[in-house]
């Protein structure tokens, strides 16, 4: 299971890539493997203000609908419209083209409560 070293992870299987005050959010390889066959993705609206733990997006596999929780608080700066048309990117490239949204961090201290790659690997038994 792929767990890139340059990301932070939420216990609920989202990842965040932090560059300056901007974070890019997606779901992990483990999450996509569990969900399988993602056929619908709905990133948050531009400008939406999210608190850490809020539902930031919804993805649905053939099996079930899953809420994607925002790992941090902030304002939505960008939404990946490509995954709306091609939701399978969340399965095939969860850490790349399958990103879901970008957020301007309003409280970077929240990153401290997220897991580092080692801790996330331990959580999923990878």
């Amino acid at each position: 299971m792929n767990v890139p070293d340059n990301l932070r992870y939420a216990e609920s299987h989202e990842w965040i890539l932090v560059e300056g005050d901007t974070g890019t959010v997606g779901i992990t390889d483990h999450a996509q493997a569990e969900l399988t066959d993602i056929v619908f993705a709905e990133p948050p609206a531009l400008g939406k203000s999210l608190k850490a733990g809020d539902v930031g997006a919804v993805v649905e596999s053939v099996k079930a609908a899953s809420d994607i929780y925002s790992p941090v608080s902030g304002e939505v700066l960008a939404r990946n419209e490509v995954i709306e048309r091609t939701p399978a990117l969340l399965n095939t490239d969860p850490f790349g083209d399958g990103w879901i949204y970008k957020i301007r961090l309003s409280n970077p201290a929240e990153l401290e409560s997220l897991k580092d790659p080692a801790a996330y690997r331990a959580q999923i038994g990878a």
Partner: protein, 337 residues
Amino acid sequence: MVDFAGWEMPVQYSGILDEHRAVRESAGVFDVSHMGEFFVSGPAGAAWLDSLLTNNVAALESGRAHYSLMLNERGGVIDDLIVYRLGPSEFLLVVNASMIGEDAEWMKARLREGVEFENRSGDYAALAVQGSDAGKIFEKVIGGVMPSERNCVLEIGEGFLVTTGYTGEKGFEWILPAAEATDAWGRILEAGAKPCGLGARDTLRLEMCYPLNGSDLSPDHTPLEAGLGYFVDFTKPDFIGKEALAAQEAAGIPRRLCALKAMEKSPPLRPHYPVFIGGEQVGETTSGAHSPSLGCGIAMAYLPADAGKPGQEVAIEVRGKKFRACVHKKPLYQKAS
């Protein structure tokens, strides 16, 4: 693994889309051992079943099977089942897992002289092989040629095989002693069938608009409402629920189980989503899924009879947002011939 009527069952093996495609294009196998098996025999067996079930058991030939329904006095569905006629006065009934207890109790409470009833659900496993390659698998695993007609019953050792299914594809369902199931499963896989779980079973049957008891069928809806009138024989002298059905037919069937197909990109449809016509809620989905064959949301819902006509536009609400859909002729999926 999920709990299904007390059975631990996989939703999927390799993935629902992959398994669904295998059944539509080649062959898949489902472990349906959770289904219940009742044996009925005795000189009064056929007449007794005819008093409990909607389809005509007396007219069913030995070596054949048919679909039937067991109703309450109000004409509501207790269960839907397959009746196998094994001999002049020997029958096997295959019932839904979640209903084994209730069905057996209902039937035993109405037992008559000259009828033997035995619930042997624990003794049998069941494997369903479905898809255009099912005949090849039959040849390798069972031997000989699979009957080309549907609903043919064969006795195979201590087990029974019938050319039925729940997917709209060719195939067979094999009821066999539980101790033989693991070996049979292995041989079916070796013969080329892909293992399939509950997830693909649901998407396949919903594309065909085959109802699922507990979702699309319930004690509060009659088979006439569910569009299963074909399996109700009104010429029989009597069966439980007949009077209520006749009254409903005379008065006009108030609502019908309709097939719905999304007309725009939408999240996969699921059960219990509200259905609207012209801003007014007229029902809710009883089943719903993303159709792997059609690539869009599909569902079924009871709609007022005057609205339940193909082409009728409806809106289905998903998480507060409405998506356009329309009533579609059943089945939702038809194999390109």
